[in-house]
């Protein structure tokens, strides 16, 4: 019987929400939207950085050398390609090749490579359509880039320069666009410059020792093992992304607060008479606030579940319209978004709850 009576309150809470379907649905969608917004942002950040990790690993290199004053996501610093020859002459170095990254826009760049050397380093670019580049204006693009820009072998692409698309390769190795390094240096006036040196060793076990040797030889340069390099592609390592996520989380919590504040405020106004009835039966202010808080918790949790479901929708949408911005599903954030939604919602329910608790029973019973 005690369980039955407890179930009665849950039923009352559920029926109250069901009784105003449009308001409940709007609240759920808005709470869900803030949850989706956070999950999509975190998912896209991780997706894009994960892509960069995969591409770096796809080179097959054991050690990466970057110019002095460079940072992990910056392509602005370059160095002389003469360094490649010096590295090649060192013990334990099986292969060394340079690459020039020329940025075109915020997220896009062209990577100049020595195709033969890069194929040897990475195990080979897998050409899905067309062929490798032969002329200075030839460009290879990966499948995702080709899909996004609707490119086929034979297409022209104005991408900082008018390129001929000669082939489509499988994604996941170094870059989305490849040109001959000498041609790229020539076209963009960066003759003799490279952004990276990729080094393959005779045995990966020598990585730490070689890294130390290289660091000693090129003391101002950034020397990374592949493990170190890919570990830098995290949201924590990119200060702006982390700050941006925090801002969006803050906005999300505030939206949740406003949604529930308005929803519960309306609920208290609409239910003035019902609150009066409960008070007439001897319900304490705490009892009435408890009902509203239960409704809020239910809204927040159902909104969170809806938001999680909608995050799968945004993933599918991004995959269709912006394949260069892959969104990964982030289950480790589900608890966080639930807490954010719940916190914002409960904060939003405080004032309406107090208003309900203070309502005068006589006035409430006279309310029509």
């Amino acid at each position: 019987m005690a369980a039955r009576l407890k179930g009665l309150i849950h039923r009352l809470v559920f029926e109250n929400l069901k009784h105003r379907p449009l308001r409940t649905l709007l609240s759920l969608v808005l709470i869900g939207a803030q949850v989706t917004m956070i999950l999509a942002l975190v998912g896209v950040s991780r997706g894009v950085l994960g892509n960069m990790q995969r591409r770096a690993k796809g080179t097959g290199a054991d050690i990466i050398i970057r110019p002095p004053d460079s940072s992990v996501l910056s392509f602005s610093s370059n160095m002389s390609e003469k360094i490649v020859e010096v590295v090649r002459g060192m013990e334990h170095v099986k292969l060394a090749t340079g690459a020039l990254v020329h940025p075109i826009s915020n997220l896009d760049s062209i990577t100049g490579i020595h195709l033969d050397e890069f194929n040897e380093l990475s195990g080979g670019l897998v050409i899905l359509k067309g062929k490798g580049f032969e002329k200075p204006d030839d460009l290879l693009v990966d499948r995702v880039f080709a899909q996004r820009k609707k490119l086929e072998p034979g297409s022209k692409l104005d991408f900082g320069h008018l390129w001929n698309i000669v082939g489509v390769v499988e994604e996941g190795k170094l870059s989305a666009t490849f040109a001959d390094i000498a041609a790229l240096q020539d076209i963009f006036g960066e003759t003799g410059k490279i952004s990276y040196v990729y080094v393959k060793l005779d045995d990966p076990k020598n990585t730490d020792a070689m890294k130390a040797t290289l660091q000693q030889k090129f003391d101002t340069y950034k020397i990374y093992s592949m493990e170190e390099f890919t570990a830098l592609f995290t949201t924590n390592a990119v200060p702006l992304v982390e700050t941006f996520i925090q801002v969006v989380v803050g906005i999300g919590a505030f939206v949740g607060f406003l949604v529930v504040f308005l929803s519960m405020y309306m609920a208290v106004l609409e239910r003035t008479r019902e609150i009066g009835i409960l008070k007439a039966m001897g319900a304490s202010p705490g009892y009435i606030v408890g009902i509203l808080l239960r409704e809020t918790v239910l809204l927040a949790l159902a909104g969170t579940a809806l938001g999680i479901a909608m995050a799968y929708g945004t993933r599918a949408l991004l995959a269709a319209v912006a394949p260069n911005m892959p969104q990964v599903i982030v289950p480790d954030w589900y608890l966080n978004v639930a807490i954010i939604a719940l916190g914002g919602s409960l904060a939003g329910a405080v004032y309406p709850g107090l208003k309900a608790a203070k309502q005068d029973a006589i006035e409430a019973l006279a309310y029509d």
């Binding site: 009576l5 009352l12 029926e15 019902e274 409960l278 008070k279 039966m281 006589i362």
Partner: protein, 222 residues
């Protein structure tokens, strides 16, 4: 045995800068098991007396005792406890919660009163007397006015309060349903010895009570 003992009861409301004297010294004694009708024109103070006896408003001065408990000495929490355990309300507009079934409306009164055991057997007799046993799983919108008022009566009785306060219980009902509801109230009073105080404008409704008290201008006149 005296159930309700009211002496020198006054109630003054302040509306803007004006004091409104709703009750101007009411004296009334109601014995346990009595069925009393309170009649009087609008503004005579009936509803104010109803609100004070029900613990919905505090008195300004005087003493009001229900079952030996002085209401004038109760704070908000004390009046909440009084409504929970000692008083059952029946309203003109039934005031059932629209989202719960008839049974849910009865059960929530028990939940608020902190009762969790099974309903006692005698309550089944009350439901039979009220004739709503087969309507308990319906929501108020599926019930007629008379049925809704009988559910409200069941809700008022479920915690076995010392006093039932009925405010125009037949005000929204047709003659047939009015007679049925009043007959039920009278039966409950006779069979269970339930003390009932009923406010009404209707002399025919008042005739169902043991005694009629008339109010005018905040006083009991006869």
């Amino acid at each position: 045995m005296t159930e309700i003992d009211i002496r020198g009861l006054t109630k003054t409301y302040r509306i803007g800068d004006v004091d409104v004297h709703a009750l101007r010294g009411v004296d009334l004694r109601v014995e346990r098991g009595e069925f009393v009708a309170i009649v009087g024109p609008s503004g005579s103070g009936k509803s104010t007396l109803f609100n004070i006896l029900g613990g919905l408003a505090p008195p300004t001065s005087g003493t009001v005792s229900i079952d030996g408990q002085d209401l004038a000495k109760l704070n908000d929490t004390g009046r909440t406890e009084l409504r929970k355990k000692s008083v059952g309300f029946i309203f003109q507009k039934y005031n059932l919660l629209p989202t719960l079934t008839a049974d849910g409306n009865i059960e929530i009164a028990r939940h608020i009163a902190g009762k969790s055991g099974p309903r006692d057997e005698s309550f089944k007799d009350i439901l039979n007397l009220l004739g709503i046993g087969d309507r308990l799983h319906h929501k108020p919108r599926a019930l007629s006015g008379g049925e809704q008022q009988r559910v409200a009566i069941a809700r008022a009785l479920v915690n076995h309060p010392s006093l039932i306060l009925a405010d125009e219980p037949t005000g929204n009902l047709d003659t047939e349903n009015s007679t049925a509801v009043l007959s039920v109230l009278r039966d409950l009073n006779k069979r269970l010895g339930q003390t009932i105080l009923m406010i009404t404008h209707d002399p025919e409704a008042a005739a169902f009570a043991d005694r009629t008290v008339t109010m005018r201008d905040g006083r009991i006149v006869c």
